[in-house]
């Protein structure tokens, strides 16, 4: 077990800056997801932790031990590429033993490890089977088994579920999380898929263009996104953004949205132009009267447990989650209300979150720079 400390990490490939001056503390035993679009620097960061790339500057320490320029083999970290990759012509036991035999471990130790892993993953009864005949879920557990049998200090995973189809991806997410809860091995997991990140992570690091934009637990990222990019990258459908029709100043607790006044958490900072952010589940339909922001329903989709309606308003188009017992109709005119304490505001120029009464109370669970 180990914590991983990254300090002022910088990586340049010729003219391209892949990772820009990043600092991050990955605590022992946490499942940390590096999340971002392709080219954001998440894989490069992971490869530097693994020792597959060396940084241009900065340091990486495993438990206070500087490993920045050490070879991958000397780091005691397991890099997992794709979880489903098994040797189909070998049996389950051989697949699990393979990485250990490569390390030249004694027979007794190998047997002990295999027993442990098989019991953790509940695959003892499969040890004698062939990989080819296994059902999907069992196959995935064997693949996981092969990753953990080496008992490394940390797991590094680069989009390991990327090539699985949707159904197995979900199944695998659940297995992976259960496994982590049992082993508590520090895990760094790279993905561009926010659903995967939300399902797996203790902590999420959102990156874009080589920079860390935010590092926090999923709730912190979801409720208090540090900027508009993070706000729209996380959550499906994404957060709604509406233009505020006035300059905002400290002490204000309502803002103008096209004539309507909307209550917001008390604003702490000045901004000439601001954007109001609200998630679809925090939008409510009310009577189209007494001062609420007027909206026109353009489209609705039924999801069983709820509807999602697309609404046009003078402050912008937005999506709303609507109770399943209501029947929103295309063409309906409605009033829009928002859950005040869940509203966030962004500076329209810098795109950054504006400090308010609610954001100031929030303490990020992770430190980064």
């Amino acid at each position: 077990m180990a914590d991983i400390r990254i300090k002022n990490l910088h990586k340049r490939f010729a003219d391209f800056v892949a990772v820009r001056d990043s600092s991050l503390l990955l605590e022992d035993g946490k499942f940390v997801v590096l999340l971002g679009p392709s080219g954001c620097g998440k894989t490069t960061t992971l490869r530097m932790i693994a020792g597959l790339e060396y940084p241009t500057s900065g340091t990486i320490a495993l438990d206070q031990d500087d490993v920045t320029y050490r070879r991958p083999r000397e780091r005691d970290i397991a890099m997992v590429f794709q979880l489903f990759a098994l040797y189909p012509h070998m049996g389950v036991r051989d697949n699990l033993e393979f990485p250990l035999r490569n390390e030249g471990l004694p027979r007794a130790e190998i047997d002990k490890r295999i027993r442990e892993v098989a019991s953790i993953l509940r695959i003892e009864h499969l040890l004698g089977s062939r990989v080819g005949g296994l059902a999907g879920g069992d196959r995935q557990r064997v693949a996981l088994g092969r990753a953990i049998v080496r008992q490394p200090k940390a797991f590094l995973m680069d989009e390991p579920l990327g090539t699985l189809d949707a159904e197995f991806r979900e199944l695998m997410c659940v297995e992976l999380r259960k496994l982590h809860d049992r082993l508590k091995t520090t895990t760094v997991f790279v993905t561009h898929d926010q659903t995967e990140a939300m399902a797996l992570a203790d902590q999420i690091v959102v990156m874009n263009q080589g920079e860390i934009l935010q590092a926090d637990d999923p709730e912190g990222i979801y409720n208090f996104p540090s900027c508009r990019f993070v706000a729209s990258f996380i959550g499906r459908p994404p957060m709604n953004f509406l233009d505020v029709g006035e300059r905002v100043i400290p002490g204000m607790s309502t803002v103008a949205l096209d004539g309507a006044r909307v209550a917001v958490p008390e604003i702490h900072t000045l901004a000439d132009q601001a954007v109001l952010g609200v998630r679809p589940e925090h939008v409510r339909f009310v009577d189209n009267a007494n001062g609420a922001l007027p909206g026109l329903i353009k489209y609705v989709e039924y999801f069983g447990s709820h509807w999602i309606a697309e609404v046009e308003s003078a402050a912008g188009t937005l999506k709303a989650v609507v109770d399943k017992d209501l029947r929103p109709g295309i063409g309906d005119r409605i009033g829009l209300e928002f859950k005040t304490e869940r509203i966030v505001l962004f500076d329209a120029k810098t795109q950054l979150l504006l400090p308010s009464a609610t954001t100031c109370k929030h303490q990020p669970s992770m430190s980064h720079g």
Binding site: D165, T195, M198, E301, Y302, F303, G304, K324
Partner: protein, 350 residues
Amino acid sequence: MASISLRDITKTFGAVTAVRAMSLDIADGEFFVLLGPSGAGKTTTLRLIAGIERPDRGSVLMNGEDVVDLAPAFRDCAFVFQQYSLYPHLSVYDNIAFPLRAPFRNTPADEIKRRVHRVAEMLHIESKLSRKATALSGGEMQRVAIGRALVREPRVFLMDEPLSSLDARLREELRVELKRLQQRNGATVVYVTHDQVEATTLADRIGILEAGEIRQVGTPQQIYREPLSLEVAQRLGSPSINILPAEWFEGSVHPLAAHVAIRPEDVQLTQGNGAASFRVIECSLVKHLVVAERSGIEVRSRRMLEHAVVPGSQVRFDFPRQHCLYFDQSGRRLAAAHTTTSTASMEQTA
């Protein structure tokens, strides 16, 4: 455009019965979704409608006319597959125009041009018409494949998981476009998927397919709210419906009920200890989800959560009776006094 009827269709492949005594009526202009797991017989059903497969027994009617002996070309169905099969050496324009240039169709050149441009406009790919098909992104390629089906103005569209290979964002976008297009054209669409979101958002009606048989047909709301069996109840809803032992409900339920099912969004969380309390396993403020357990049975509640509950702590759940569904030992749904059977039957006839 056309209506489609399947009358007592059976199709076997060797020892495997892919479709078993299936009867189904799809109205002209309807968006009909066949929902089921892989191997349920969805694709075979589509191929039977298209005429690519011939049923062992039963008949296929289009606009009331038996088409079992009609070759695929004369049934005039357009297929869209999951794997877009475009001609890589042709431009987008030529790919879309291709079906119109089939010799037996005899479409004049200016008519081809008009139709290709109209379809490209609908699908927002006008600016890509001169590109090679291989120079497109996955989403664009699937748009072209849909465009190639649309341009023919066929009697029926048959779509086999057309969005499955796209990423989440694109899938969402194209889903909305597909529905809008269908509403505008009034096309008859038979759409096969294993994705329940696609089913509830696209369908006028859904057919739940399992092991080659139709288990229930109804509007998305009917299937979700009034499932006829536990099996169907579990087909829609994420997280899936809670199934609780009837003993938990002390006499207040139907005398034949063995299971009581309730959707996660209808389970209310209240604080507190006691005999009826549950041990929290998982809580997510982001997903508004609480999973808790009692005597090995997991209950999921998905409602707006203001504060997290700690795993290991005790909570109570409230199961409002108006949201409960009752099922007998074999999994068949039992009518209960307070289920709104009258509304359901009205919707069925409407």
